[in-house]
């Protein structure tokens, strides 16, 4: 069995260890004896929509976005849309997520045309790299930075977010999940976007390593596209789960430590889940997760061991 991964702009869109997402897919496939053929797609390289089973693009700042946007639009856009329409999976993170929408606003209001895969667009409240920031703390204050916890169906996704843009979804777009802690798309309580097997998200970390469920969703979609069906044997994910649980615990602690007030207010303002409810959901989820593991939260349990071979 073999799937084909197209990795977009590995030399440009690779902030925040984003190449780790591709590494995660390759390893998790390898442990299941699925071969992975990774094609690095740089500026000028076309997309073979028939051949690709999974398309991955990482994040980047405005300078990187300006560099790749024309190429994404003219050279690769149609191929990406076609591949997804044919059932291919896709993961777009951060700056790449913003560019997979209709347009993405840059500093001083200029707009970059996107791939138009997602019915979404990104507005930058204020410039991030503009000259008007005298100090780092000024520049930092304009960004959404911190742990992000998202409810995705029956599961939780965790990650780190750091973005200066707010992404808004059009009527045709479905958010990936609901924000339990953090900022998400634009503070309206939702995070990311999902269209068939294509996922756009602000989750970093890199997100697939700490969210094996999301990784397996994409792998399963890619295998299904190639072989019409996928039956992925489960892997021993103790280490991944421990990192996942630790991220949730950090978010819960941050919520308890007072910054939660702001968050609760934001939930209430958005008229979504009642604020208290959102917090309880998060705490309950964390409790449930720690109850599932013998001996409570495993990240703080000493001597968690992974023996050779990742198969259970």
């Amino acid at each position: 069995m073999k799937i084909s991964v197209g990795y977009l702009y590995p030399d440009i869109m690779a902030t925040y260890g984003d190449r780790g997402n591709v590494e995660t897919v390759v390893r998790r496939c390898g442990w299941r004896n699925i071969a992975v053929d990774v094609t690095e797609l740089r500026l000028g390289d076309p997309i073979d929509s028939e051949a690709l089973d999974l398309i991955v693009i990482g994040g980047g700042g405005e300078a990187q976005q300006r560099l790749v946007a024309p190429d994404l639009c003219r050279v690769k856009g149609a191929g990406i849309r076609e591949a997804v329409a044919l059932g291919a999976a896709a993961l777009a993170v951060g700056g790449g997520y913003e560019l997979f929408g209709r347009f993405c606003q840059q500093e001083r209001g200029a707009e970059l045309r996107g791939v138009e895969l997602f019915d979404a667009w990104t507005i930058r409240q204020r410039a991030v790299l503009g000259d008007h920031y005298g100090t780092i703390s000024e520049a930092r204050a304009d960004r959404a930075i911190g742990e992000l916890v998202v409810r995705w169906g029956a599961r939780l996704l965790v990650g780190f977010e750091n973005h200066g843009g707010g992404t808004y979804l059009g009527p045709a777009a479905q958010p990936l999940g609901q924000v339990l802690s953090g900022h998400g798309n634009n503070g309206d309580g939702f995070e990311g976007v999902i269209l068939a097997n294509a996922v756009g998200t602000y989750l970093r970390g890199p997100c697939l390593a700490k969210n094996p469920a999301l990784a397996d969703f994409l792998i399963s979609a890619a295998v299904t596209r190639r072989y019409s069906a996928a039956d992925l044997p489960p892997l021993a994910d103790e280490l991944e789960q421990a990192a996942h649980d630790a991220a949730i615990r950090r978010a819960v602690e941050a919520t308890r430590a007072g910054r939660g007030k702001l968050r609760r207010a934001r939930f209430a303002k958005a008229g979504l889940a009642p604020a208290r409810h959102a917090r309880c959901t998060l705490a309950r989820a964390a409790l449930r997760l720690s109850a599932q593991r013998p001996g409570g939260g495993s990240a703080h349990t000493s001597g968690v061991r992974a023996r050779s071979g990742a198969r259970r």
């Binding site: 030399d11 440009i12 690779a14 902030t15 925040y16 260890g17 984003d18 190449r19 780790g20 590494e23 995660t24 390893r27 500026l43 700042g61 300078a63 560099l67 991030v128 790299l129 000259d131 005298g134 780092i136 520049a139 930092r140 930075i145 911190g146 742990e147 780190f160 750091n162 970093r204 970390g205 890199p206 390593a209 700490k210 280490l239 991944e240 421990a242 990192a243 649980d245 630790a246 950090r250 941050a254 990240a299 703080h300 000493s302 001597g303 968690v304 061991r305 992974a306 023996r307 050779s308 071979g309 990742a310």
Partner: protein
């Protein structure tokens, strides 16, 4: 005396009284902080002095007879400073160095307060020269106080502490804006191998001195996986490399506009990375050609020695003093060696992707398996992101560390990273231990190390600070003033 000159005298008298008060209050704060066991007080004394007299730092630095040299950049500025201080002392100068203070504004002020007399002046010393390590993010602020440095040394610019500094593009823009304030005679000592540094503020007419590696045998040939692939600093085009030393440092040229690495005036013509504890390099300047044997490992330390030589050359220090660089000893956490229960234990700080990679390469470069405790921690509210560990080149070193122990409040993330880099399933002994508590992790790692064999602790700061505190309590190491400081203040 006319009325107006009396007024001027009165003002200057008031100013000098204020300076004296600021210095005295700063000194009092320093001894108070020490007595309260709040460490040496590396920021508070400076803060106190600057609150009383905002001009204290500028005034006191202005009294340094032979002017000041500032060293800034992402990695290596501390070691470069300490190497340069050895050369200066050997040349008969008396460097005023901020080894004690932090590398931000208040830390520099603390250093100056410590060197001043209670009357608010530096003791008259014709051989005094300032040598300051400056946090790259603080350079604009520092240049407002130290307006006329003799030389400004830039070691390199890496993507570092992303959530704090945003991006290299932001940092270079910040530095360039600050550099516009420099007087025309301040020399810029620049790393030719770093395209971001080499092309800083190209329109300034200041003298530019480039340093770089010429020994292509020490290069990695192809692109380094830890590189963040900077684009051409002039036209944003793609850069091509004929030789990569590490990350994005190497012999670069732009494929679009033809901008290329400038020819360095000070260069390393031969480097021999002798092993996990020393390096030999041949350095050539316009007047000197010397071989330095430095007791520190890794290509990054060769770069540190190179930038120190370039700065010394620019300051016209005698060539015979350059060999004083060999007197460098490992600073705390810079491959610092501690003898513990029959083992040589090396403590090495790795604070970002390139630092982590280069430390591991320095230790494991001989491809001999070694015992290791690896740590990762974040600073909640300051630097919560640790995704940079995915840019560390663990992959090529898989199988070289039997039974690694991982620690720190982000140990779980590091364990996942090692698993996906193939560290868990490669080699015969791959039992990975995850222990967030640094002291317990250290004990596990030590117990796993066969008798008499060395062990390395490679980590971000918090794990190292806790291990070292425990080592001090056990009597293995001396107290360290830095140990008392909060980890978030840890200086690079």
């Amino acid at each position: 005396m006319t009325l107006s000159s009396a007024g001027v005298a009165g003002v200057s008298l008031a100013a000098s009284a204020r300076r004296a008060l600021a210095v005295s209050a700063g000194k009092a704060a320093r001894s108070g902080a020490r007595r309260l066991r709040r460490g040496n007080g590396t920021a508070i004394p400076g803060q106190v002095a600057l609150t009383i007299d905002p001009g204290a730092l500028a005034g006191l630095v202005g009294e340094i007879t032979r002017g000041s040299v500032l060293v800034t950049g992402s990695n290596g500025k501390g070691t470069t400073c300490r190497m340069l201080a050895h050369v200066m002392r050997d040349a008969g100068l008396h460097p005023v160095v901020n080894h004690e203070g932090s590398n931000q504004r208040s830390g520099l002020a603390t250093t100056m307060v410590a060197h001043s007399t209670p009357t608010g002046h530096l003791p008259a010393d014709g051989q005094a020269i300032g040598l300051f390590e400056v946090d790259e993010g603080s350079l604009p602020e520092i240049l407002r106080h130290i307006g006329r440095p003799k030389a400004l040394v830039f070691t390199n610019i890496f993507r570092d502490q992303l959530d704090r500094y945003l991006e290299p593009a932001y940092i270079t823009a910040l530095l360039e804006r600050a550099m516009r304030r420099l007087p025309a005679d301040t020399a810029l000592v620049l790393n030719a191998d770093d395209p971001r540094v080499a092309y800083l503020a190209p329109d300034l007419s200041n003298p530019r001195i480039y340093f770089g590696m010429e020994d292509t045998d020490a290069g990695r040939g192809a692109a380094d996986p830890t590189s963040d692939f900077p684009r051409c600093p002039r036209c944003d085009g793609e850069l091509s490399y004929t030789c990569v030393y590490y990350a994005h440092l190497g012999h670069w040229a732009c494929m679009s506009c033809g901008l290329a690495r400038p020819r360095p005036q000070v260069s390393v013509t031969k480097v021999d990375l002798a092993g996990p504890s020393s390096t030999s390099l041949q350095v050539v300047t316009q007047t000197a050609d010397i071989v330095l044997e430095i007791p520190l490992p890794g290509l990054y330390n060769a770069y540190n020695a190179l930038s120190a030589v370039a700065a010394a050359d620019r300051c016209q220090l005698p060539d015979r003093s350059l060999s004083a660089i060999e007197q460098i000893t490992a600073a705390a956490f810079r491959m610092e060696k501690v003898r513990v229960a029959g083992h040589d234990v090396y403590l090495a700080l790795a604070k970002n992707a390139n630092g982590y990679t280069e430390v591991l390469r320095a230790v494991l470069g001989d491809r001999q398996p070694k015992r290791m405790l690896l740590g990762l921690n974040d600073f909640p509210g300051k630097q919560p992101d640790t995704s940079w560990i995915w840019d560390v080149d663990f992959g090529s070193l898989a199988g070289l560390v039997p039974a690694p122990v991982v620690s720190g409040n982000r140990a779980a993330d590091l364990a996942v990273r090692l698993k996906y880099a193939g560290w868990v399933e490669a080699g015969p002994w791959t039992d990975l231990a995850v222990e967030p508590d640094p002291v317990r992790a250290f004990q596990i790692a030590l117990a796993r190390t066969p008798p008499g064999q060395p062990m390395w602790v490679v980590s971000t700061s918090d794990v190292l600070l806790q291990v070292r505190r425990w080592l001090r309590q056990q009597g293995y190491v001396r107290a360290l003033w830095r140990e008392q400081r909060g980890p978030a203040r840890w200086q690079a």
